[in-house]
């Protein structure tokens, strides 16, 4: 299996003018990118803004992406540079005396204050998290082990097959069935909750 084939197939489509393929890349990596940027800014809202800027920069630079490295590695570098620049420009801007930036707690507070603009969003995030966790707990052990090894440990199907002493095809099937079981419950939250959030937002 060629590494990064799925990302590369989406990237090639974007390079040929298919913007819809870029949506798939954003959906896949948005959480990872925000988490990455939060090493620099800590405030989730600001991290999202920086991640958005990084995605847009990546889109504009995609014609130069030749696939020499994995797409995420390339995106990762863009996000890091964007975050560093954002931190530098923020530090050069006039100091906001309303908030003491000297402690991590203040940064968290700043983030929570921005989040408080959308309380429904916070509730939904918690709801999504609890729904997924409950669905994972309800999974049969072989499905739960397969998806945890994949998502948490980052093992390949081949490595999971070796760990679980089963064929690669079985691993693929178990991970798919685990995702389907979780997704069935998650879809209800998204279809109900996100609709409400959008109405409020």
């Amino acid at each position: 299996m060629s590494a990064d084939a799925s990302d590369l197939s989406l990237v090639r489509r974007v390079q040929r003018g298919d913007k819809g393929a870029f949506d798939a890349l954003v959906l896949k990596y948005q959480h990872k990118l925000v988490k990455l940027v939060m090493r620099y800014v800590r405030n989730p809202a600001e991290a999202e803004d920086i991640a958005q800027e990084a995605f847009i920069k990546a889109y504009r630079a995609l014609p130069q992406f030749r696939g020499d490295s994995a797409f995420y590695t390339w995106l990762y570098r863009i996000a890091i540079n964007t975050a560093k620049n954002a931190v530098v420009s923020r530090d050069r801007s006039p100091i906001d005396y309303d908030l003491d930036r000297s402690s991590d707690e203040s940064y968290e507070l700043q983030g929570r204050m921005k989040d408080s603009e959308t309380p429904e969003g916070l509730v939904l995030t918690d709801e999504i998290r609890s729904t997924v966790n409950a669905a994972i707990d309800a999974l049969p052990e072989d499905l739960r082990t397969a998806i945890v090894l994949r998502e948490l440990e980052g093992l390949s199907y081949e490595e999971i097959a070796a760990a679980m002493d089963c064929p690669v095809g079985t691993v693929r099937s178990r991970i798919f069935r685990a995702r389907e079981a979780i997704d069935r419950r998650l879809r209800e939250v998204f279809e109900g909750g996100l609709g409400r959030a959008e109405e409020l937002g």
Partner: protein, 211 residues
């Protein structure tokens, strides 16, 4: 929703789908909103499992990026000039290389032909052995008697070429018996003639003149 399709989507999300299937599914994924939403939820499941604290799982980030990208020009039009500046082999370079090689080869062939004697002669000469024994049947005498004469052997490397000094000597000697005008014409023709033609004709002449 097709279960096989969803299974492929899950494998593609994990980068475990063969590239050919990825190509097909990527096309569908970019157009099918339901499939895209499922793909997005797979990402949410991963984020929860990795306990990515602080990350808002319902964030409208993807939607905001989508809106921003909608205002951007499609990359198909801008990709070409950007690639043109990239230091890599362009599509026409292998063709140009082939054409250059063909030109060099054609030049070499023309040069060789210019250096070689006339078209038919070299082949005939090369097919000849170094000394040809031609049987001659004398029909006038009583009993049949094989006689033969020997054609002088030809040089192996350039079989039809006679050294120019020998050839010049021969021509001069031959012209001694001809008229002065004819002699002059013959010498002039010899000097100004094409080297290849000169060699071929002279060699033929030598062969015919040999006793």
């Amino acid at each position: 929703m097709n279960e096989e399709l969803d299974s492929q989507l899950s494998a593609m999300f994990d980068d475990e789908l063969p590239p050919a299937e990825c190509e097909l599914l990527a096309r569908r994924l970019s157009r099918d909103e339901a499939l895209k939403a499922r793909w997005g939820r797979y990402a949410v499941i991963g984020a929860v499992l990795r306990a990515e604290r602080g990350v808002r799982l319902n964030a409208a980030l993807a939607g905001r990026v989508n809106v921003a990208i909608s205002a951007e020009p499609a990359l198909g039009a801008t990709a070409v000039p950007a690639r043109a500046s990239a230091p890599r082999v362009r599509w026409w370079q292998p063709l140009a290389g082939g054409a250059l090689a063909a030109s060099v080869a054609a030049g070499a062939i023309l040069f060789m032909r210019a250096q070689a004697p006339s078209a038919g002669a070299p082949l005939a000469a090369q097919s000849l052995p170094s000394a040809v024994v031609t049987p001659v049947v004398n029909v006038t005498s009583g009993p049949l008697r094989n006689t033969s004469y020997v054609t002088p052997p030809l040089p192996a490397a350039r079989p039809m070429l006679v050294p120019s000094t020998q050839l010049a000597n021969y021509v001069v000697a031959h012209s001694m018996v001809s008229s002065p005008v004819a002699r002059h014409n013959l010498l002039s023709a010899f000097i100004t003639s094409e080297p290849a033609a000169e060699a071929g004709q002279a060699a033929d002449h030598v062969a015919r003149a040999a006793p």
